[in-house]
């Protein structure tokens, strides 16, 4: 099957074509392939090259309508996929002051609502579970959520999908669609036209542009966010520990991978390409927050920093919806919080494609029509625009 893909000239269309080989598109592809559907995922680069391979790996989204499904699926993902995801259960949230402590309580409440427990840790317990931590104002131990390795997980979706007969076409850009009688019949790529019965748009920051080609407005603004990673340190009993304005984890290899702080709004993506995802000296600010929380990691050396580009809708919440017109299109933008939810998102998209509705969760708060009547300058109203100096010649 991969031989087909080596030469796109030989690639045939599919019953379902998914644009975007990130966590969202590939999870959907995997769910569809498991359901016996002929599916093709197209990506302009390699799988997981964009946000899906550059994120913090957090899987704790207690506010989301897909939370229960996220929590149900993660502990089974290694088995279901047949490939390792490095999922580790549980999260510790460290608060360095009263404001952070109050803020952290929200997740406690949300968890309880779904029947999940949270423990308050005393200083000795925190020291035992998170030996790198120092004096903290307080810490919660959520007995839910967790973290996983984004690279392994997303590649796992791709491989598992292929095991079920699905196909991936990399290095191929989608730039338009053929629509007949209110249905998309084909996608136009830089390597030719590919027919389909259903279309899923899961193209991250490009989802807005692609939807526009169908005459549909999906309002998203793109931004860059940064992370750092250190050399491996001895494994802590609970690696999923964060706080103090940072998200992240100790990986199962022992590296500290953390991000947080200012994001940078980007120019509307020119053409179909995401601009270079350079990181900046924010590395130093992230490091400062990290050693405040983990003073015993002062000497750990940073070995990489990077940036990823994510899109946000005006209310910062995902759109996962099947369009009324064209009627065979599902749009999914995860609005900057899509890695952890991806097992559940893919399931929801599969049901939207095959059944027309999601049977296991109420997605009404994620519908596209909530943005009907949105002003044209919504992004400018929020200041979701590039820094003005971006265009001035660099001195």
């Amino acid at each position: 099957m991969s031989d087909d893909a080596a030469d796109p000239a030989d690639t045939t269309g599919a019953s379902v074509i998914i644009v975007g080989g990130g966590a969202t598109g590939l999870s959907a592809g995997w769910w569809l392939a498991r359901a016996g559907v002929d599916v093709l995922v197209i990506d302009k680069g390699i799988v997981a090259w964009e946000a899906s391979g550059r994120n913090g790996g957090g899987c704790t989204h207690a506010f989301s309508p897909l939370f229960r499904e996220e929590q149900r699926l993660w502990p089974q993902m290694d088995e279901l996929l047949g490939y390792p995801t490095e999922f580790s259960a549980g999260r510790i949230r460290i608060a360095m002051d009263a404001a952070q402590w109050d803020d952290a309580h929200r997740v406690v409440r949300y968890g309880e609502r779904h029947g999940f427990q949270t423990e308050v840790l005393d200083a000795a317990q925190l020291r035992e579970l998170v030996p790198l931590a120092g004096e903290a104002h307080g810490a919660y131990w959520h007995h839910f959520g967790g973290h996983a390795n984004p690279h392994r997980t997303v590649q796992g979706y791709a491989w598992a999908m292929q095991d079920h007969g699905g196909r991936v076409l990399q290095h191929t850009t989608v730039h338009g669609f053929a629509v007949e009688n209110g249905r998309v019949t084909a996608v136009e790529t830089d390597r030719g036209r590919l027919g389909c019965d259903h279309l899923v748009l899961a193209a991250g920051p490009q989802t807005g542009k692609l939807a526009a080609a169908l005459g549909v407005r999906v309002p998203v603004a793109a931004a860059r966010a940064e992370m750092i990673v250190t050399e491996p340190l001895p494994l802590m009993p609970v690696g999923g520990a964060d706080g103090n304005g940072l998200y992240g984890r100790q990986t199962l290899r022992g590296n500290l991978a953390y991000g947080g702080g200012p994001h940078e709004w980007l120019e509307e993506c020119d053409g179909m390409g995401v601009p270079p995802r350079s990181s900046t000296p924010l590395m130093g600010n992230i490091a400062a927050h990290l050693i405040e929380m983990f003073p015993r990691a002062r000497h750990a050396r940073i070995i990489r920093s990077w940036a990823g580009v994510i899109e946000n809708t005006p209310d910062g919440r995902p759109v996962i919806d099947r369009l009324p017109d064209p009627s065979n299109v599902v749009v999914a933008t995860l609005s900057s919080i899509g890695f952890g939810l991806s097992p559940a998102t893919g399931h929801a998209i599969q049901e939207l494609v095959t059944d027309g509705a999601c049977g296991f969760a109420d997605l009404s708060t994620l519908c596209l029509s909530r943005f009907d009547g949105l002003e044209g300058d919504w992004a400018a109203q929020r200041g979701w625009q590039p820094v003005p100096t971006a265009r001035s010649p660099a001195g």
């Binding site: 991969s2 491989w159 601009p275 000296p281 990489r304 946000n312 949105l374 200041g383 971006a390 660099a394």
Partner: protein, 531 residues
Amino acid sequence: MTPRVIDPRSTANATLTVAERTDLLVVGAGPAGLAAAIAAARHGMSVVLVDENPVAPETMGDDVPLHFGQRMSGAVRNRTAMTEAMLGAEPALADAMEAGVDVRLGTAAWGLYANGPSVGWLPGKVAGLTDGEASWMLGFKSAIVAAGRRDMGLAFPGWQLPGVMGATAAERLARLGALDVRRAVILGSSAEALLAAIAMRQAGVEVAAIVEQAPAPIGPAALLDQLAGVPVLTRHVIAAARGEAGGVTGAALARLDDDGRRIAGDPVTVGCDTAVLGIGAVPVIELLDAIGCRSVFSPARGGHVPDVDAAQMTTVPGIYAVGDCAGVWAAKSMDRAVAEAEGRRAAAHAAQAADASDGAHAPEEPAVDLSAYRLAWVRSAVVEAAPGFGAEAHVCQCEEVTAREILEVRPPRYLNWPHPLRNSTDLSALLGQGPPNADQVKRLTRAGMGLCQGRRCREQVAALLALGAGAGLGEVPLATFRAPVRPIPLGLAALPESPDMAEHWDVWFGIPGQFAGGWELEATQAPAAKP
């Protein structure tokens, strides 16, 4: 016009603390960097010249920035003496100080940053510097990168032993009187390998043999003449470094047939305490790649090099590449005037002054096909490493990944992944979907993700992917480099935040309602409302 709204949690509201400013930053105090710095100072620019040497002994012990193979002598622990040795070995350093250049030895540049298509908040171009005591940002108008070269690794059994070291590292330590080697075998016969051998001999090292997999030595005859008496074993490859914990005690050499395949039979063992990796001198382009300079694969210039114009300027305006990091070739390695001319040309352009140098030197026609040459080494010494020569070597020493694990795209061992391969998810399966991608293989196997930042394995991993794909080295896209290009402690890297940044620091975007429970929202809420 209505006033512009600013998202307070975005970089539009962030200010970077810049500790100092200069017209020109020069990175690297070799011949090219020194010539550039001196010329620029004479053109009237303020110039800061940094060089990470003398490198702290602990850092050298991690094979950063070169593959020192633990063969530095106790001398490296005396920083003052090392600094004096540098000044003694390089008179141009004194010239630079005299010319008014702000020379900072023991100072590493770990990152270069500029505003660009997705970055707009920086107050101009900045560099991250550290002297091991502190780390700070330096603002600059232009930067000339003269970061030199390093050595391609070769994962033969035993290559992790103390005493396997790079030719560039050996030559540098020899020149500074800090090399602790008695008897060495040189792997490879390029100009850079031979120059290391000559420098080592001058430092009193006995060069036991030069080993070359090719049918004839590839370096200039003039250099071979200087090594008269040293046996050159062509059509030989290193089968293993023998030794114990203390280090190498010998090099087992296997013969190759006319096709470069290993001939079965007992290897010859040459007694030595050091095996010098001279199979590939690699331009150090990490700072340039990380800031976004385009690079090209140029066999005549030693591999992936920055794409520079006639003034040595890269594709990022105001960033120049000179000396070995702009391309390594024999004539340049043998005559420092070539690198110096590049440095002066870049300095003149940065200063908008007339170029007093004598125009660009073009690399000579390469003596061998660089891709075929390096692939032959990796095939014969790594892929075809015969059992019986010790455990399969780790190509990536930091993360302990073997060639087989790279080619099979195996999950790392710490996962103890119990499942047999469910389908063929090896390299050939990935290749079905496009050209081999070193970053993808790195993410999945962790090869190149460790503390040495891939300096010892990166070219080998690319070679393995090329061999697996039946492609040339030039067809394997360069794996990306990222800042910091030197491992830097969190405590050192920590930057104080500006008051605005501190006030609005948020774990994520801080969009009202983004993390509110779905049940707390009206399904038909008016999202158009301003935050």
